[in-house]
Symmetry: C2
C-alpha cells in the first residue's frame, strides 16, 4: 500500500504532500516557500520542456533570455501589472556582504553597498522585456517578435505547496509583439490551443478552454485565455494561461512602430506561460493510493525490469534475457531501467515502481526462463499477464499507447461526470459541497456577484468556456438576466 501513503479518501491534501515527497519528486528547502526539485521530478519537467519547446518552435517562436532583475522604475511603469505583483515580490537592495564586526565568522549586509535603485526579482518579465523591445521595434518590418524564455521567477506567496504554489518556480514565458490587434489576439488563442494540445496529448489531462472574467485576469491583460483542469478531489486547477495584453505595455514603455502607411502606432502584445505547477496537476489527475500514475509520454522510466532469483547463477541467466530485452526496447525509443540491485527484494522494488508511476513493470523469474515468457504488469489497471519473450517489445509498444489513452479517457470520464448544470443557488452550494467539480451556472456579469459567490462558497469563475452557447437564463445568485453559462469551481 504505497509504503504507508495516506489514502485519497482519508485526506486528499495529505495524500498529495506525502506522495510528492515519497515518490522523490520534490521537497521543501531551507528557503521559505522554495522547493528542491529532485532528479525524478526534474526528469518529468525535462520531458514536458522538450515537448513544449518543440511545439513553440513549430509555431515560429525562438528562445531568448532576459535579466532576472527588474529595476523598480521599470517594474512600476505598467500600473496594473505593478499593482498585481508589488505585494509579493522579492527585492534586492544591496550588492555586498561584509564581516560582522561583532561576531567572528558571521556576515552582515554592507550598508555602504546599497543600490541606488532597488531591483525586483522578476515575478514575470513583461516590464523588462517591453523595455527591451522598445529598442528593437521601429517599423512594421520588425514585427512580429515571437520570443519565449525558459526561466525561474519569484512570487513571495504566503501559503505555499510543493509544485502547486511555490515562492520560486520554473516556467516558460512567451512574449510577442504584433502590428495589429487581430494578429495579437490570434497569437494568444493559438498558444492557448498549444497548451490544450500539450495537456491532452502528453499529460493525458483533459482541459476546458475558456476566457477569464475581468476579475480573474492577469494583471495588465485585456483578456486572459485559460486551460482549466479538474483534479480528483473535485477542485479545478488553472493549468496554463495566454494573455492578450492589448497596447498596455507598449503604452507604458512607449513602444511604437511605423506602419506600412507610415503612421506611428503602438504595438500589440501577448504573453503566455506554463509552470512547474503542471507537475502538481499531472500528479493529481492520475495518481492513486499506491502512488503516481504517469502517462507513458512523460514517464522518465517507461519500463522497469525486475529479476526474481535465488543465487548468482539464476541472476546471471535472467540478466542475459533482461539485458537483451532492455536493448531491444531502447531501440524502439522506450526508456528502460533494469534493476538488478541486490540490496532490495523484488517486492520492495515492485512497490517502489508503483509508487513512482512507472507505466509497465516486467518481472523475470526462473519459471519464465523455462517457459520463455515474462510477467508484464500495467501500472494504470494493476493487471498482470504472461507474455512470450519474442512478443514483449510489440506488446510494450502497444501498451505505451493504450495506457496513455486509458488514463486520458478515465480522467475525461471523471471530468464529464463532474460538470453539473444548476439553476438555483441552493443546488449550486449543494453540488460544490458534495460532488465538487465544475458547476455550470448563469451569472449576471458583475464583479460584485462574482465576489459575493466567492465569499459565500469559495468558488470562483474558472472561465467562460470557448464553446459556451447563447442561452437565456437568470443569475444563480441575483436572478438578473444572463445570456450564457460560466463555469464555477473551487480551485487550487
Amino acid at each position: 500500500m504505497g509504503k504507508g501513503l495516506t489514502k485519497r479518501s482519508e485526506d486528499y491534501s495529505k495524500w498529495y504532500n506525502e506522495l510528492v515527497v515519497k515518490a522523490d519528486l520534490a521537497e521543501n528547502s531551507a528557503v521559505r516557500g522554495c522547493m528542491v526539485i529532485k532528479p525524478y521530478g526534474y526528469a518529468i519537467w525535462e520531458k514536458m520542456q522538450a515537448e513544449l519547446d518543440r511545439m513553440f518552435k513549430e509555431t515560429g517562436h525562438q528562445n531568448a533570455y532576459f535579466p532576472l532583475f527588474v529595476p523598480k522604475s521599470l517594474f512600476e511603469a505598467e500600473e496594473k501589472n505593478a499593482e498585481g505583483f508589488a505585494k509579493e515580490c522579492a527585492v534586492v537592495t544591496h550588492y555586498r556582504l561584509k564581516n560582522d564586526p561583532e561576531k567572528e565568522g558571521k556576515l552582515i549586509v554592507d550598508p555602504e553597498a546599497k543600490l541606488e535603485e532597488e531591483l525586483v526579482v522578476r515575478p514575470t518579465s513583461e516590464a523588462i522585456i517591453w523595455n527591451t523591445y522598445k529598442t528593437w521595434i521601429q517599423s512594421y518590418r520588425d514585427l512580429p517578435i515571437l520570443i519565449n524564455q525558459w526561466a525561474n521567477v519569484v512570487r513571495w506567496e504566503m501559503r505555499t505547496r510543493l509544485f502547486l504554489r511555490t515562492a520560486e518556480f520554473l516556467w516558460q514565458e512567451g512574449h510577442t509583439a504584433h502590428a495589429t490587434k487581430a494578429e495579437a489576439i490570434q497569437e494568444a488563442q493559438q498558444m492557448q490551443e498549444v497548451y490544450a494540445q500539450f495537456a491532452q496529448e502528453f499529460m493525458a489531462m483533459p482541459v476546458i478552454k475558456g476566457v477569464k472574467t475581468e476579475h480573474e485576469r492577469f494583471a495588465g491583460a485585456d483578456d486572459t485565455y485559460t486551460i482549466e483542469a479538474l483534479m480528483q478531489d473535485g477542485k479545478a486547477l488553472q493549468a496554463g494561461t495566454s494573455h492578450f495584453l492589448g497596447q498596455n505595455f507598449a503604452k507604458a514603455f512607449d513602444v511604437k512602430f511605423a506602419s506600412k502607411e507610415g503612421k506611428l502606432e503602438h504595438v500589440w502584445a501577448t504573453s503566455w506561460g506554463v509552470t512547474t505547477r503542471l507537475i502538481g496537476a499531472l500528479i493529481m489527475t492520475h495518481s492513486d493510493d499506491l502512488g503516481l500514475v504517469l502517462p507513458p509520454k512523460l514517464a522518465p522510466i517507461q519500463v522497469a525490469i525486475v529479476p526474481i532469483y535465488r543465487g548468482e547463477d539464476q541472476l546471471e541467466e535472467i540478466s542475459k534475457v533482461a539485458n537483451q530485452l532492455a536493448v531491444d526496447l531502447k531501440k524502439e525509443g522506450i526508456s528502460v531501467k533494469y534493476d538488478d540491485r541486490d540490496t532490495h527484494k523484488p517486492g520492495w522494488k515492485f512497490a517502489q515502481y508503483e509508487l513512482q508511476g512507472v507505466p509497465v513493470r516486467i518481472a523475470i523469474g526462473p519459471k519464465d526462463l523455462e517457459k520463455g515468457t515474462v510477467e508484464l504488469a500495467r501500472r494504470d489497471t494493476l493487471t498482470k499477464e504472461f507474455v512470450p519473450k519474442n512478443e514483449v517489445v510489440e506488446k510494450v509498444k502497444q501498451l505505451m499507447v493504450e495506457i496513455q489513452d486509458n488514463i486520458y479517457q478515465k480522467a475525461l470520464d471523471f471530468r464529464e461526470n463532474h460538470i453539473t448544470a444548476v439553476d438555483d443557488f441552493e443546488a449550486f452550494k449543494e453540488v460544490l459541497n458534495t460532488k465538487g467539480g465544475f458547476v455550470s451556472a448563469h451569472w449576471d456579469g458583475t464583479k460584485e456577484t462574482e465576489q459575493k459567490i466567492k465569499d459565500l462558497t469559495k468558488a470562483t469563475i474558472r472561465c467562460i468556456p470557448l464553446d459556451t452557447k447563447e442561452e437565456a437564463g437568470s443569475c444563480v445568485l441575483t436572478a438578473k438576466p444572463s445570456s450564457q453559462r460560466v463555469l464555477f469551481a473551487k480551485a487550487y
Copy 2:
C-alpha cells in the same frame, strides 16, 4: 567588410564588443551588468547545452533544481567560499513593495516587509545544495550523488563585458558527493576531461588541461582542475573548471555517512561548471574581420540559401530548386535557412550570413538553373565553387566535417605558435608584451612570487599543465629552484 566592423588589428576589444551586438548575439540591458541574450546567441547556447547535457548523462549524472536564494546563515557556513563571494553578491532584504505615499504611481520598499534573514541570490550553489545533501545522505548506500543543475547565477562584478563577465549569467553546476577521496578526485578529473572534449570536438577550440595554483583556486576547493583556451589577441581564457572540494562543505554542513565498516565519516565533494562565457570564447577563437566564424556543430544555421533573381518568374523557378535542396539537406540533419525575402538584396544577405558566421552559403541564380549547378561559399576560407545540383548534399555533408576540422586546426596552430618557453624575466616580459600567448616558465611555487609577477606584468599562472614534465630549473623571477614549468598568460 562586416557592416563597418572594427578590425581586430585596430582594436580587438572594440571588435569583440561590436561583433556581439551586430551579429545579434546579445546586448546590454537596463540592469547594470546584466545582458539580454538574443535569439541567435541563445540558439548557440541551446546547442551547447544539448551536447553537454548528453555528455553529463552519459557519465551518470542527473539534473535537478535547487533554490535561487541562499539564506545568509547557510551562505556563511563554509568560510572560504563565503569570503570569496561575499564581496559581490546581490542581497534580498524585503519581500514587498508598496505605494509611495509621496508620489502617485510610484512604489517604495515596504519597511514592514523586511525579511528576518537576508537571502543571497546564489553566486554558486554549494551552500544550499550541501545543506540539502545533509538530509539525503546517511549511509554509503546513498553515495555517490551525481547531480547537475542548469541555472542562472549572480555575481555583482564591477566591470562587465557581454558573455565574458556579466552580473547575471547562465551556467550548469555539477555537485557530487562521494564516499572516498579517490573517487571524488576521479570525478573532478573526469569532468575536466568532459569539458576538454566538448571544447575540442564541438567548439573546435583547443584547450590545455591543468591544475590551478592555490591562489587561483575556487573559494572552498582543495584543487581546481581547469581547461584554458587561447584567444586571438594572445590572452588566455578559463573555459571551464572542475573542483575537488575535499571534505570542506561536508564539514561546514555536517554531512556524514556510515561506511560499509559502520564508521561515521565526512563525505567527499566535487563541483564543476561552464557558463555562457563559452559563447565569448567561441567568438574570440574563430571569428574574423568580417564577423563570426562558427563551427558547424554549434551553428544555429548551417547552410543559408540565397536566390539571385530578377522578377517573380525567376524567383519561382529558383525557389523550386532551393526548396527541394533545403528538404534534402534537412533529411541529413542539416539546418538550412532559405532566405527569399524581397526586402533585402543578395549582397546584403551575403554580408549578413558572413557576419553571423553561417558555415556554408549557397547562391542560386538563373545561370545556375541553366547549368544545373549552385554556387557554394565556405565561411571559414571564404572560397567559392560551383557544384552540380545532384552533388550538393554530399558536398555539404563533407564540408560540415572539413570546416569543423579546419577551424580547429587553425586555432590549434595559433595556440601552438603561442606557447613560448622562457628562462629569464626580461624575455618573459618581452614575450607577454609583443607576441602574447602562454609563457612556459619556472616558478618557485610561492604565492608571493605569483603575486609579484602579476603586479609587474598582469600575467597570472593559468595552470600547471597535467602533462608538464619534471625538469630542474630556476624561477623566472626569483631564480629559486623549481622542478617544473607552469603556464603564465594575461587572461580574460
